[in-house]
Symmetry: none
Subunit: 227 residues, 4 copies
DNA sequence: TATGAATGAGCCTTCATTCAT
DNA sequence: TATGAATGAAGGCTCATTCAT
């Protein structure tokens, strides 16, 4: 069900360097970029194809040419968004750190990533409102699952061996808690900050929350409380 | 135009019992009930007034008579939804329990409430997608804030006095963590369970997650780890 | 087709004086008053029954009780409006003036009356847009016709006898010219003043136009030009 | 949103004659044509977009595509209507006639034009009911003003020089009187003919009124009465 | 590959009117 | 006489999508 039926001709001609994306590829990317903003801001139903087209370098017809339907475009946006989560761990060299430090790094990186990608967060909210029915066909997702779960599993095992983490903790449970705390901080920012009249945007507030979340996860995993 | 507070006549006549709501009140309530389902299922933009009307005991025209617009109805649904959160604590007699037990009860009740009110959770997701702009005018919210924050504050103080909770914890931080863990469990159920192929609906899975969340919060507050 | 089917009970009880209108009569009058403003401002189609009712001392139901329909109310407004034109001549004692002075007085009074009754002017515009189909049933109109035409006829005859007015002028033609000049000055004030950037509202501008119109009519009737 | 000036491609291809308007231009013109009838017949509020669309060669959607709203269509109709007034003078070669003859020609032409364009007259009535608020943005109007006022000014001057017209007459006053007499004859035809039971449609009646109006204006301008 | 023009279905909203009391 | 509640029909407008070129 992937919408990328069109075979995108590799760029040819004198200007076609190695990494340089071809014109069609750039058009595609441009559309997806604009669409991500619109969908994340207004939801699948609330976004307008006309508006997306207008903010694009190309025309409305091209959206249908490349993605076949509004929903197809939405799927493409979703796919591209999920492809970026893997960047969370890619810049960490967790294996070289002590287990607790490694976990601290990971939680912090997860927090930062969510903080820097509110579009993604809103997109996922949308998906859940729609019972995650569009997520089905996205291939890259199962590899993502294995990456993060393996990473956490090994981290937990190392911690147990080192005598700092509790035995028997499930990596999926751990991941869920990390995600919950980091995700909610962005997803529910508007309602929470309005109801509790609390600033959640200033660098100071963000840093404080980051510390608390890291601490919460560390305490849950550790045998002895960190001081 | 005029904001027309519909004065809802108290029911009179032979059939009017004490608590029995009048006919207009019932009409209003019926509309809100149906609308909550639609809005939470499809969002503000995705919901259809026609469909709401059809599932109602009354006609589409009445929706506009009572609520003036789709958005007005949405606001009414939101208001009623937020009024029900206070039920979380109302059935607990926390003061009579030891601090740690009391916190356990509170977290558990919060977890259960979210679990039993997925409509509310989706509604809040929608609000956040729309930057919580419709929440502004809802009066009952500030009282809600004070209730829960006072409760947590006193609980933390009692725990500090009893020598079981850490000093200097902020009740709003605590509330945010509890909310995050409980909310996410419902809000992101669809994406999470699909990606990680994990059952999140069975009573067993729910109970397990409930225990982990309670434990996580307890460990964050406590001086010494619970065994 | 008069809508006044309801027999209005004469006021009784201690407070019922001689001239004092009964409560129903006052209600009727109040409704008509509000309706005239609405209809003249927005036309038959543009006026809203709800809005009329809201600005009234009574309820929407009463409008239907007294006038049976929006159109019935419109007819009643029209009828009342046409009843007031007779006031133009009622305060003049034309017979006692010389023909030219009498005509001057009459034209000036007609001009003033239109100027002071823009509601009437707009109502008549509306009627013409609707091909004057609602004017049919209004009884008082034919008497009005005879009054003004007789008056003009006698005036012309006196002028001819006195050797100041031309022979053979038709009173209906004369009336049409007077009406046209006076009516247009109010009816087309908005477009004209906007297009020609000319003030048509200041007392000075009004007086100047009044003089020109009077002069125009006088010159048309007179044998020798007034100096 | 965006004001979208539709760029109407000039017709190309084998069938494209010189003056032949392109298809979009024809669509636009067709809509405006139908709309003018509807608006002039029923006013802005009374006209129905559905009905306009039905009498068109195209669909309702196209109305919004080209004009964006009912009001936008109304404005376009108004604009096109005002553009046609300039045709009044375009066929006269006034400069070559003696001042009095020239004025006679001009008044007659104005009379005829109004008589042949009842749609325009009703449209202007509508505008005045709405306080001429839609006329503001129409550019062609100020040029129209200057054309007619200049023409009258020169005519008056020539008449003064020739010793036939009075000194000191204002061309705007003159234009207002001409307009009033010609406009009213069409605009109030329905009420007037009904109230005064006078035929205003027969060629004979029209010719008679035309003569009276011309005479009225001539007498107002002239030093010595025409015989 | 690209674009302006076109569309049918359906959406939110409003209106004049009537009913129950 | 008076009022709040209720309604069916229709009105203006928008949307995702397709066509002709």
């Amino acid at each position: 069900m992937s919408s990328r039926k069109k075979t995108v001709k590799p760029a040819t001609g004198p200007a076609a360097g190695l990494q340089e994306p071809s014109a069609p590829e750039r058009t595609r990317a441009n559309i997806i970029d604009v669409a991500r903003q619109e969908f994340s801001e207004k939801g699948l139903a609330g976004a307008r194809v006309d508006e997306i087209a207008e903010r694009t370098n190309t025309s409305k017809r091209m959206i249908y040419y490349y993605f076949e339907s509004k929903e197809g475009l939405y799927r493409a946006v979703l796919e591209q968004a999920y492809e970026q989560i893997r960047l969370i761990e890619s810049n960490l060299n967790i294996e070289q750190l002590a287990p607790q430090d490694a976990l601290r790094e990971l939680v912090g990186a997860t927090f930062d990533w969510h903080n820097q990608h509110p579009d993604f967060v809103r997109l996922v909210m949308n998906e859940n409102i729609h019972h995650a029915e569009h997520i089905a066909g996205i291939g890259s997702i199962s590899t993502r699952r294995q990456t993060i779960i393996n990473l956490l599993q090994q981290l937990l095992q190392r911690g147990v061996k080192a005598g700092v983490f509790r035995r028997g903790l499930d990596p999926i449970d751990l991941h869920m808690s990390i995600s919950a705390l980091c995700f909610y901080n962005v997803s529910n920012r508007h309602t929470f900050s309005r109801i509790f009249e609390r600033d959640m945007n200033s660098p100071k507030a963000v840093a404080a929350r980051r510390a608390i979340i890291t601490d919460t996860i560390l305490r849950w995993c550790s045998i002895q409380q960190p001081v």
